[in-house]
Structures are given as C-alpha cells and as structure tokens.
C-alpha cells in the first residue's frame, strides 16, 4: 500500500475556549475522493482549512504527502516553518471555497493565470495554453474575458476550480463548494468535480450533497463535536449508519 496523501493523528484545534477539533484521526489515500459530512459546527471546515495551514493546529500531527504541515521535525523537536515554506507547500494543495473568492478586479482568464505566473514563475504562453484547456474543461471558454461579477454563482465556482487546478496540485480541498449556489446551479459544479474525480485527482470534499458523496465518494467520514464518529464507504455509511448521531443527522438531511 502506498503512503497516504493526508494523514491526521490526534489533531486538536481551539478558538479561544471553544474546542473545535478534538483529536481527528484519519487517512486519505492518493487518488481517492474523501467526503467529510456532519452538522454545522462539527469542525469539518476547520479541519479542511488546517490541511493547507490557513488555520494552525494546536496539537497532534497533520501531514500531506509525507510532510508535516506548518512545521519541520528535527531531532524530536518541532520547528515552525517560514512563511516562504508554508507558501511553497500550499502550491501543491488546491482549495475551492464556499464563497468562490474569485479576484473581482481580474477577468476569469486572469484569475486562472495569476498564480502560475506570479508564484510558479511559469511562462505566460505555457500558462495561457493550460488556462484555455481548463476553461474548456469547465465549459467556460466563452467567458474568458468576463469579470466575476458578470458570471452566475455556478460559473464563478467553475472558474474557481479551474484557478486551483492551474497550479497543478496533487490534492484538492473543497469547502462546501455548492452551499452558496442556487439549486439549479449545483449540478454544473458537481459535474466538474465528478469529472475531476474520474481523472484520478485526490479530493477532500466537505459537503451536504449526499447524492454526490454516494455516487462519487470512495470514503466518507461523519464528524461531530470535533471528532470522527464513523467512517467507511459512502454507500455503507449512508445506507446503514452504525452510530446514533450519524443516524439522527442523516435522517434530517435530504437524500
């Protein structure tokens, strides 16, 4: 068996007195679609943000592709990483936000090309070609020169996915990517994600779309109160939850 893409051991995180993560234990294998579900406040988004160090963890070990996140271990001691090293690590991890967070002063194309050119210092021609390919992949070639405020929510989220993919990450994090969308726009974003999963991308998806989880997910974790309550193949967990809290949560969400 190959090394896991993400490994979390006893990850703790609190905001002031509020303990949000209470010892998260999980492993995400390379190439798998890993779904995180749970009630709001269960810590799933916070955990996702810890994976690319947007939040720092208080205790435990969190590693991506065999390297610790935010720290270096040397002689049994942890050393905080420099901002430069944190940024370097983040290049390999794409993230898609609930509220898209496209750069409003740049066109869709410029949004996609910004980081590869400025961060990876790739040539504009190479990046342009990749950006065109990505826009085609998310079905928005005709919107290349349009500013985000002229796009629908679904279109914005597809551009945001293309923007993250332009950095050629080995891991993609999705933080409730369809929660801010009108219901009729959810499908187009899920289609893009499904296609990405088929291409073998390792994906961690925080979602309330149980249909997507069941169809596309390889693994599903139910979180509550900052801990993993139960995990397994989505079909098994969704159809036959073992835990009382999982049952009560699933009975409340539409499937």
């Amino acid at each position: 068996m190959t090394a896991p893409m993400v490994k979390s051991e006893q990850v703790h995180k609190s905001f002031g007195h509020l303990q949000v993560l209470n010892g998260i234990e999980l492993e995400v294998a390379t190439g798998e679609v890993f779904c995180l579900v749970g009630p709001s406040g269960s810590g799933k988004s916070t955990f996702l943000r810890c994976i690319n160090h947007l939040e720092r963890i208080d205790a435990g070990r969190l590693s991506v592709d065999g390297e610790l996140i935010g720290y270096r271990e040397h002689g049994g001691k942890l050393y905080e990483l420099h901002e430069r090293e944190v940024a370097r690590k983040r290049r390999e991890i794409g993230m898609v936000f609930q509220t898209f967070n496209l750069f409003p002063h740049m066109t869709a194309l410029a949004n996609i090309m910004e980081a590869p050119i400025r961060v990876k210092r790739e040539s504009a021609a190479v990046v342009r070609e990749r950006a065109d390919r990505l826009l085609d992949r998310v079905g928005l070639t005709h919107k290349a020169d349009v500013y985000p405020n002229q796009l629908s929510g679904g279109q914005q989220q597809r551009v945001a996915i293309a923007r993250a993919l332009a950095m050629e990450p080995k891991l993609m994090l999705f933080d409730e990517p369809t929660s801010a969308l009108d219901p009729e726009l959810v499908g187009e974003v899920l289609d893009v994600m499904r296609q990405l999963a088929d291409d073998g991308m390792t994906m961690i998806v925080v979602t309330h779309e149980m249909g997507f989880a069941r169809e596309v997910g390889d693994n599903l974790v139910f979180m509550d109160g900052g801990v993993v309550i139960e995990s397994g193949h989505p079909r098994d967990v969704l159809a036959n939850p073992q835990h009382e809290r999982t049952k009560s949560f699933l009975s409340k969400v539409l499937m």
Binding site: E83, A87, R90, F97, F103, R118, V146
Partner: protein, 312 residues
C-alpha cells in the same frame, strides 16, 4: 405592451429656489462689477504675470512631490501597521501618532530651523567614524524643508486612509491568494491593493486638493509658491485685494483640474467591480443640466458598461 406615458412629476419648489438663487447671483455680480475696489484691471494685469505663473508652477510642483512622498510612505506605513510583526506595527503607530499629533505649520518651521538643533548632518557608523558630512543649512533648503514638512505629515494621513482601504477588502480574497501559494507581500500588491484602491482614491483625491491649498503655508519659509508670489507683489504695490483674488482664482483652477483627474482615476479602478462605471465629469455635467425635470423612465442617466459580455 405599450410603454407608460405619464405626466412627469412637477417640482415647483425647484423653480422657486432657482429664482431666489438667480436674484442673489445678480446682486453678487452687480457688486463685483460696480465696486471698483475689486480693481479687476489690476487682477487682469497680474493674472498672467511671470512672478505669479512661477508661483503657480512652484505650488503644483510642491503638491505633486509632497503627495508622492505622502502616498508612497503612507502606503508603506499602512502595510507595516497591519503587519503581523509587532515591531513594524509599533513603529508605524508611533510615526502616525507623532506626525498626526503636531500641527503641520509647526513641523514646517521646525524643519526649516533644523540647523539650530543639528548644525551638521553626517552619515557614518553610529557612535563611530563619519563618512560624509554636510552643513544643515546647505542641505535643508526652503524646498527640502517644505517637502519634509508637508510630505512626512501627509504620510501619516495617507497611512490611515490606506489602512482603511486595505481592511475593507474581504478576508476571503487574502485566503484565496494564500491558498494558491501567494506570499503576503505578493498578495498585498496583486490582490488586496488593487481592490483597496477603490476605497483609497476618493479620500486621497481630497487629500491632494487639501495639499494644494496647504502648500500656501510654505510661504512662511520664504519659498516663492503662489501665495508668497502674490504677497511679494502686494507688499510692494499695496494692491492686496486684487492680488489675493489672483491667487484664489489660480487655486480654484488648479483644484478644478485635480477634481476632473480624480474622476478618471476612480473610473479606472472601478473595473470589474461595478456593472456601470461612475460617470465622467462631463457626463455628470450633462446629466445635471438636462434632467431638470425628472428623468423619463426610458432615458436613464448616461453610463458606460464596464466591459464586453452581457448581464447574467
């Protein structure tokens, strides 16, 4: 469906107000013309006098250089103030506290008299040998004193304006940039500042216009800017009022030009943020003139859409 054809709402109050204003304006114009003490011939004579034009050029130059110093230094101070480093943030806080807390006139006089405090300025190892030294009176000319006084003071205000602009940008923008592997300064330069500009430009325009007038304080350190030039003439000819009118007219002309410039800069930074651009000065003027009675529904205010591509 046929478009609505309604009688436009009447505004009798507006007509009454206009009538009252016209009467007052006529009275004022009459006073301007009939009161010979205004000495309009003297105003005309000195309006384009060489001394005055040189003063105008000096005033413009001072404004531009002092604002350049203020904007650049203010931007740096704002970024320092918001930096996670407590050292940088404290340094910036102390700077703003000091320069905003003392009157700019006092600062000007202080810089002008720096020689009284430090007769010699030198560069070298602290408490060690000196490499280079210059007499303060030679280094701090009235122009240098003016730029130091006006620019360093302005930086404190621009720092606060820039900070407000930077903080108005959504945190999600910074997170998205960081998630793409962008570092703090790159994020600031490419993502945050261009968006903050929309908030920064209007007050910065205000500051520039303020600065144009504040440069008149510099007349006390004998720098021949516009006011000093006017004073130098009337102290000789005793035609005080007409020369002050000359100076005022020039200040008005310069601030008007700056106001127009500001509109165009605002339009530039509105890109991608608004469906419609703010109107240009000309469009504004036209709209104000030609919509005296309420605008018809099918004739909206003139506006330019920000880009190709339709509405969603």
């Amino acid at each position: 469906m046929s478009p609505i054809k309604a009688v436009p709402l009447r505004h009798p109050g507006r007509w009454l107000t206009v009538a009252a204003i016209l009467v007052l304006a006529a009275m004022f114009a009459n006073a301007l013309v009939s009161n010979t003490l205004f000495q309009w011939d003297v105003v005309g004579q000195y309006f384009t006098a060489e001394t005055i034009l040189k003063g105008v050029a000096q005033t413009l130059y001072l404004t531009l250089v002092a604002m350049a110093v203020g904007i650049v230094l203010g931007g740096i101070l704002a970024v320092m103030r918001l930096s996670p480093s407590p050292v940088l943030s404290t340094v910036s806080w102390v700077y703003i506290w000091f320069f905003r807390g003392t009157p700019v006139l006092v600062q000007l006089i202080f810089w002008f008299n720096l020689a009284a405090l430090f007769p010699e300025l030198s560069i070298g190892v602290p408490f060690g040998p000196t490499f280079f030294s210059v007499e303060t009176n030679a280094a701090i000319t009235p122009f240098v004193a003016a730029i130091l006084g006006l620019g360093l003071n302005e930086a404190a205000y621009m720092a606060e304006i820039s900070r407000a602009g930077i903080q108005s940008v959504n945190d999600g923008q910074v997170e998205a940039a960081h998630a793409l592997g962008m570092r703090r300064l790159l994020t600031m330069r490419r993502i945050v500042l261009p968006q903050a500009m929309r908030m920064i430009i209007p007050p910065a325009g205000n500051e520039t216009i303020g600065m144009l007038k504040t440069t008149s304080l510099v007349s006390i350190v004998t720098l021949p800017e516009l006011l000093y030039s006017a004073q130098s003439i009337y102290s000789r000819t005793f035609q005080t009022i007409p020369l002050l009118i000359v100076a005022s007219l020039w200040y008005l002309i310069l601030t008007s030009v700056l106001t127009v410039g500001q509109y165009y800069i605002e339009r530039h930074f509105a890109k991608g943020n608004a469906r419609t651009m703010p109107p240009t000065a000309w469009q504004r003027l036209r709209r104000n003139f030609f919509t005296f009675h309420s605008p018809r529904p099918e004739a909206p205010a003139p506006s330019v859409t920000s880009s190709s591509g339709g509405i969603r």
